[in-house]
């Protein structure tokens, strides 16, 4: 489904160079639910951007759904993003001036579906996230959890092969975060591959597989687990 080999990405600003990914290797199979964790600055977002074809990389190879995407032009990358990838952002990234229905409609319009089909897909996606009755609402009229569910509906409406979620519960309280996670698990249960970037170990545990990143590379996850246990033990002792 997703195969990255030896990916590197360097950001250059004037004389400063920052290596965000270094010889990054990751394979994700179809139907997996992978959580990518790591501290701030470890390269999680860069990985997500490259995985989602939001930005280019400097070296390595990347096969997405069996297709080498490293040399694709901008239009072809846009098409793949539109057809195969669904995005869920930490800040929801809903368009404030559009109602729920029109927000979910955004990627479908770029897909070129006819109005009737778009309406059908939007309805289905909103039903899946439990917001079928809120089509006319503006994002500002919804709670954070509801907004994220709208974003999930938007990501799902085009029936993508996999979802990329960037801290999907980062802006939600624990109750809403649990609801969103349950929804993602349900979506994964239906066969959609999910890669979720998070720094929340609790959420990461709910994924089927965890990948820990440090300094732009995948590290041994057992070290991460051990670190979490140490932190939890200290916390319990402190309490």
């Amino acid at each position: 489904m997703l195969q990255m080999k030896g990916i590197s990405k360097v950001y250059r600003a004037d004389v400063v160079q920052t290596s965000a990914l270094r010889d990054f290797n990751l394979t994700v199979d179809e139907g997996e639910f992978v959580a990518v964790t790591g501290p701030s600055g470890s390269g999680k977002t860069t990985f997500l951007n490259i995985a989602g074809l939001l930005e280019a990389f400097d070296a390595g190879s990347y096969l997405l759904d069996g297709q080498d995407v490293s040399r694709l032009g901008d239009d072809a990358r846009s098409r793949i993003r539109n057809e195969k990838i669904g995005f869920i952002f930490q800040g929801f990234n809903l368009i404030a001036d559009l109602n729920v229905f029109d927000n979910v409609d955004v990627p479908l319009r770029y897909r070129g579906f006819r109005a009737a089909e778009r309406a059908q897909r939007i309805q289905r996606a909103l039903e899946l996230v439990g917001l079928a009755s809120r089509g006319k609402h503006l994002p500002s009229q919804l709670s954070g959890g509801q907004q994220q569910r709208v974003a999930i509906a938007r990501a799902l409406a085009g029936e993508p092969r996999f979802l990329l979620a960037d801290e999907p519960t980062g802006n939600l309280d624990s109750v809403m975060a649990r609801q969103v996670m349950e929804l993602l698990e349900e979506i994964n249960g239906r066969g959609t591959t999910i890669i979720m970037v998070t720094h929340d170990p609790e959420l990461a545990r709910r994924a089927r597989r965890n990948v820990h990143m440090l300094d732009g590379q995948v590290t041994d996850f057992t070290e991460f687990e051990a670190a979490i246990r140490v932190r939890e033990t200290r916390a319990a002792a402190g309490a």
């Binding site: 939001l54 930005e55 846009s78 930490q90 990234n93 559009l98």
Partner: protein, 409 residues
């Protein structure tokens, strides 16, 4: 088409778009009416006069004191002889005032001697000798010009008024006005104040009268008379093509050689007379074109500013759209469409404003009613201008990277 969601988004942030739409509306209203007025002024200034303008030189002679009739006639004959002898001169003639000069006689003609004849028509009355046709470069459409025997003389205007000539040459416009049946040549026309008759012996194709702002400027008549007193004496000199400037330079010397004891003034080409005649129209045209240019420029800035503001305000949104699959061309199209919607909303209001402004101009300044074809042309022009203004910001929006969607700032 994405019109509905874009429109609903615009309506949620309506102040900026509304102001720009109003700006477009005002621009369209002024643009259509001003362009219409400009076109009318240009057409007016471009009217042919009927005279060989490129090759004419004119001047006024002012004598010191009034000349006796015989002396006056002799002086005029001597002057015309000297002028005709100048190299490059084709013909020269004396007249009492110059066409298109905004000074001259308005005269009434009618088909009968009846005091209440409804055919009474005003015209510019010009006086000419037997050389007038050639000197002015007029095109004789039918009939003939005056013979030397027909040229009358008058000591002054009082004598002229008391002894009007029996023949007249009229312009086609006057002939059509007096004789819609087309039978002007050979007909008798009457001076509307003294009811003196005159036979129409010739019709010239065109000879504009004195007052270019008068709707009847095309109606003119020539009487075969030379006024001897020199009260109002002009010479019209026609040159061979290309020799006008040289004749214009030398004409004063030639005439002063005949008699230095007088003033020669306003030695001008006919082009200068035309320029003076239409100077108000030209000033109005330039003013209106400047107003149009300024309004269009302000509108361009308005649309550009609104679009630039929207692009800057929506960087994250644009990045999100790109992440969700929008191509660069989709983003460009989105903002062009947004600009088009604002321009079109303004145009709809502007059409109504343009019509209203036209009605006001018609009723207040007695201007012609706005030609409706200016409205679609004006709308089209503003659409193009609006799209050009929106294109820069739209291109800038298309350059926003999709990764902007995942950035926190």
């Amino acid at each position: 088409m994405e019109i509905r969601p874009i429109l609903s988004a615009l309506l949620r942030n309506r102040t900026g778009p509304l102001l720009v739409a109003l700006q477009v509306a005002i621009t369209l209203a002024v643009l259509c009416n001003a362009a219409f007025i400009v076109q009318q002024r240009l057409a007016k200034m471009d009217r042919p006069s009927g005279y060989d303008e490129d090759n004419l030189v004119t001047l006024q002679v002012i004598n010191f004191g009034r000349l006796p009739k015989e002396a006056g006639l002799a002086a005029i004959a001597a002057d015309l002889g000297a002028l005709r002898a100048m190299p490059g001169v084709v013909a020269a003639s004396a007249t009492a005032s110059l066409p298109m000069s905004n000074a001259g006689f308005g005269w009434g003609f009618q088909r009968t001697a009846d005091a209440n004849d409804p055919t009474n028509t005003s015209a510019s009355l010009m006086l000419a000798d037997q050389y007038g046709l050639e000197a002015f470069g007029l095109q004789l459409e039918s009939g003939r010009w005056f013979t030397p025997e027909e040229i009358g003389t008058a000591a002054d205007f009082a004598e002229f008024g008391a002894t009007l000539p029996a023949t007249v040459v009229i312009s086609r416009a006057l002939a059509d006005q007096l004789f819609p049946d087309g039978k002007a040549l050979g007909a008798t026309v009457y001076d509307s104040s003294t009811r003196a008759p005159a036979t129409v012996i010739g019709i010239v194709e065109r000879a504009q009268g004195y007052f270019v702002n008068n709707p009847g400027v095309e109606r003119s008549a020539f009487y075969p008379v030379v006024i001897a007193s020199g009260e109002s004496l002009y010479y019209v000199i026609r040159t061979r093509p290309g020799e006008r400037a040289a004749v214009q330079r030398e004409v004063e010397s030639a005439l002063l050689a005949v008699d230095p004891r007088r003033i020669l003034r306003d030695v001008r080409s006919f082009g200068e007379i035309r320029a003076t005649a239409y100077q108000n129209d030209r000033a109005m045209t330039i003013t209106l074109l400047t107003v149009i240019a300024l309004l269009v420029a302000v509108t361009v800035l308005g649309v550009f500013g609104l679009m630039s503001f929207n692009v800057n305000r929506r960087r994250k949104q644009i990045g999100t759209r790109r992440a969700l699959g929008a191509r660069r061309s989709d983003v460009v199209r989105h903002f062009l469409l947004e600009g088009w919607i604002v321009t079109t909303a303004g145009a709809v209001i502007g059409v109504a404003l343009a019509v209203g402004l036209s009605v006001w101009l018609v009723s207040t300044f007695d201007l012609p009613k706005l030609d409706w074809r200016y409205l679609p042309v004006g709308v089209l022009a503003l659409w193009i201008v609006g799209q050009l203004a929106a294109y820069g910001p739209a291109r800038r929006a298309a350059g926003i990277e999709p990764a902007t969607a995942t950035r926190s700032v």
